[in-house]
Symmetry: C2
Subunit: 113 residues, 2 copies
């Protein structure tokens, strides 16, 4: 079997750097495709294709206004990713504590703040 489709979920969709750039840009406010093309200096078809992927997994919402299509980031869809990564927070905090403890042992100092 090949790799999972980028359209399968948010994890795969944000694995692409350009798509993260688009999400960052659209988080500030909704924008028509043309502005994304100009701002991020990407080819228009490329932007449309990335937006299609993002829309399919629910990471962006689209609204038509005349000839333009306005897109905006649906931050809510990024939460599962944040939550998953967050489950490791206690582990990296523990690691930092251990690093700090070792540093204090080495220095021989007993800080009391």
């Amino acid at each position: 079997m090949a790799r999972a489709a980028t359209t399968s979920d948010a994890f795969n969709a944000v694995a692409e750097p350009r798509r993260r750039e688009i999400l960052n840009y659209l988080a500030l406010q909704e924008r028509p495709v043309g502005e994304i093309v100009d701002a991020l200096e990407m080819e228009q078809p490329s932007v449309s294709k990335h937006l299609r992927v993002l829309k399919d997994v629910g990471l962006v919402h689209a609204r038509r206004d005349g000839r333009q299509m306005f897109y905006r980031t649906n931050a809510e869809a990024i939460r599962p990713l944040h939550d998953w990564a967050g489950t490791f927070e206690r582990y990296w905090k523990h690691q930092l504590i251990r690093v700090k403890e070792r540093a204090e042992e080495k220095s021989g100092a007993v800080k009391k703040d």
Copy 2:
């Protein structure tokens, strides 16, 4: 150009569901490959290959003990992902506030708690 390599960064590496399972499992404590195989019911070569990818991007650390290789999650490497997703936190909070406000408008109730 094809899709970016899974070894290019943590984002690509965790896009694979089985690799997230492995990271979850190894976060609790270090484990030899054989236990991962048994616990997650995956083929041994498959586990070794996923571990290789995870190690290449720094998401796990390995330690040899006799014939066994013990792996453990390097939570620190997951922080960039958590941080990136976290930049959207204020946006989804805003959305929740708006949803709440609309709900209150509709109900016509003025809660004072």
